[in-house]
């Protein structure tokens, strides 16, 4: 809706303050209730109703390190996978997108189509196709956990693509790079000093959203028999539901922090008004 029309009276389009408050409260409760319930659950002592910090302290006490070893392996594996996936996004997707934007604008639709495909393919279908591929991957790169990032690099494509593309659309990268080249900059300098600083927002958003997707991934890891955060949590939940819920809460908290950081870095660094 155009800004000019916001002063005009628009009957029936804008809810009253009260209605807005009610809607916000209902949505807030729907979101918060399960979280509060999870938190409360982690303080329970058995199923009787008494509360204790016991589950939290045992999870982080040195003695239980062995009990929860698979969990910690899962956490560290997931972080490693997140890092490699982000590296794939930055090294493969980002330069491809910049190149297409600058030199091959006709390929933009093709690239967009390719990048959106993974969102239409259910993870389970993806795994069926990936299983034989991974037989070869294992032969070439060995069976290390990080190879799973090849698959994750594909599953995060749609999210990373959108984040970077919206930034590319907002910046006139063609003129900026031509200006930089006319001033004597080679391609590396154009990329490093001109394009990347102006794409910072999209790149960070793509990286964070990739991390969030990887940390929440279960299907592929489970079906390819790898241990990551989610598979470890499922395993633990069968023996100790309290710890599983604590992990779920921590993972959620981490994702929230990521989202907040994305929001923060998305804001322009300096005042955006040209009052002069």
């Amino acid at each position: 809706m155009s800004r000019a029309s916001s002063n005009a009276v628009r009957i029936g389009t804008e809810p009253s303050k009260l209605a807005r408050g009610v809607i916000l409260a209902i949505v807030g409760i729907v979101f918060l209730l399960p979280l509060v319930a999870m938190l409360e659950f982690t303080f329970r002592d058995g199923f009787e109703g008494a509360h204790t910090l016991g589950h939290w302290t045992t999870l982080f006490s040195p003695e239980s390190a062995r009990t929860y070893r698979s969990l910690f392996t899962g956490v560290s594996n997931s972080f490693l996978l997140a890092a490699v996936t982000v590296a794939i996004v930055l090294v493969v997707l980002l330069p491809t997108m910049i190149l297409v934007q600058l030199q091959f604008p006709k390929l933009r639709r093709v690239l967009e189509f390719i990048c959106i495909i993974p969102i239409t393919v259910p993870a389970i279908v993806l795994v069926v196709g990936l299983a034989p591929v991974y037989a070869i991957v294992v032969r070439v790169f060995g069976g290390s956990i990080w190879t799973l990032a090849f698959a994750y690099g594909i599953t995060v494509l749609p999210y990373a693509y959108r984040a970077i593309q919206s930034n590319l659309d907002a910046v006139d990268v063609i003129t900026l790079s031509e200006a930089a080249r006319s001033l004597g900059a080679g391609w590396l300098n154009v990329l490093w000093r001109v394009l990347l600083p102006n794409l910072r927002r999209g790149i960070l958003a793509a990286a964070f959203i990739s991390v969030a997707v990887v940390l929440g991934e279960f299907t592929i890891a489970s079906l390819l028999n790898r241990v990551n955060l989610q598979t470890a949590m499922l395993q633990i939940s069968q023996s100790d539901p309290f710890v599983a819920v604590i992990c779920a809460l921590l993972a959620l908290a981490f994702a929230f922090i990521l989202l907040l950081v994305i929001g923060r870095v998305g804001q322009p660094k300096r005042g955006n008004r040209s009052d002069s």
């Binding site: 910046v171 006139d172 003129t175 900026l176 031509e178 200006a179 930089a180 080249r181 006319s182 001033l183 004597g184 900059a185 080679g186 300098n189 000093r193 001109v194 600083p197 102006n198 300096r270 955006n272 040209s274 009052d275 002069s276």
Partner: protein, 359 residues
């Protein structure tokens, strides 16, 4: 805004009196469409040449080919006698100002101007001094710490000009740098560009679709059409002796009058006028007569009725209908007042006119 030539400016002029630029039979195709059709252009050191033409005539393509931003499909581009066709943009040592605002948004004005010097590995102190001098030159010395979004359009283009000139390039390329600005700023900035260009003595190519702008600032104007240069000459030459009907029609305002060509002269409204350009076969033609070549004269031979009359400040332009129903635009002194409906008499001055064959 006045600009005194700064010390750096005069130094620059001494160091580099501008380079020669030559386009020799340059050909460029865009997916089967010929954008540049064997263009030939030679620009002397320190000369200010405007490339003028309607959109799609190839003027921007010619400039971008010279900058190395477009590859060419044939011909040679020489700067100071050296063929630069295979030299990448960043090695051609050119300064360029673009039509769209091109300041780096994440840098301050000063950092923007310093960019070219940074690429040439100039020491930090000298870089800062020279960048500040360049900003002074465009009248924005106090804006060093501003960001692009804190500047007006005209100020952004001034910074872009300072940024292009600070490296003391061999050639300055201006790709419609004024077209996004409003009329008053446009006139002010074009005069400023011309003054700075004269001070620095830098060879300059200026692309524009605005004929008034081209005539006002350039030493010579190349009128382009469909990938070819129709005519190149001083503004006076283009205006008074257009080589082709296209030039006559595009540069300045012209009345198109039906006439018959016989023995190298045309008879129009009772006057016999000489014909410009190459000799043409006799027959029906369209003659292009300038509004200022028609005068209001009670002893004139053309009877006309005034349709509209507009006051243009220093002159008045009156559109009339003649007896045969054709419309004429007449330019005259403001003291000669005409009212719609008036009947007046007109006379042709007798200056030579451009003609084109009529079907």
């Amino acid at each position: 805004m006045t600009i005194a030539p700064t010390s750096s400016a005069s130094r620059t002029a001494d160091a580099r009196a501008g380079a020669t630029v030559e386009l020799i039979d340059v050909v460029k195709d865009y997916s089967g469409q010929r954008a540049l059709d064997a263009i030939g252009l030679s620009v002397a050191p320190g000369e200010f040449v405007a490339l003028l033409g309607p959109s799609g005539c190839g003027k921007t393509t010619a400039l971008r080919s010279l900058a190395g931003l477009e590859s060419i499909d044939g011909g040679e581009i020489r700067i100071d006698g050296k063929n630069v066709v295979s030299t990448p943009t960043n090695k051609r040592d050119l300064g360029m100002v673009f039509q769209s605002y091109s300041l780096f948004p994440h840098m301050t004005t000063l950092e923007n101007v310093e960019f070219g010097l940074r690429m040439r590995r100039v020491a930090a102190d000298e870089r800062r001094t020279r960048a500040l001098e360049a900003l002074e030159m465009v009248g924005l010395g106090t804006f060093a710490s501003r960001f692009a979004h804190q500047l007006s359009g005209g100020q952004q283009q001034r910074v872009a000009l300072a940024r292009a000139l600070v490296t003391r390039p061999r050639v300055l390329l201006l790709d419609e740098p004024l077209s996004a600005l409003d009329a008053k700023v446009r006139v002010q900035l074009r005069e400023e560009i011309r003054r700075i260009q004269t001070d620095l003595g830098i060879t300059t190519l200026f692309v524009t679709h605005d004929q008034e702008e081209a005539l006002a600032v350039a030493d010579r104007v190349a009128v382009m059409r469909e990938g070819k240069i129709e005519q190149i000459g001083t503004p006076e030459e283009l205006y008074t002796t257009p080589a082709t009907p296209f030039v006559a029609n595009f540069v300045g305002l012209s009345n198109r009058l039906d006439a018959v060509l016989t023995d190298g002269s045309v008879a129009v409204h009772g006057a016999t006028l000489a014909v410009l350009g190459a000799p043409q076969p006799d027959g029906p033609v369209t003659a292009f007569v300038r509004p200022e070549d028609i005068v209001i004269d009670p002893a004139g031979t053309i009877d006309a009725t005034v349709l509209t009359s507009s006051f243009l400040g220093s002159l008045r332009r009156t559109v009339v209908a003649t007896a045969d129903g054709s419309h004429l635009s007449v330019q005259h002194d403001v003291s000669e007042r005409t009212q719609p409906g008036d009947t007046i008499r007109l006379r042709l001055r007798g200056n030579a006119v451009a003609v084109s064959a009529r079907e």
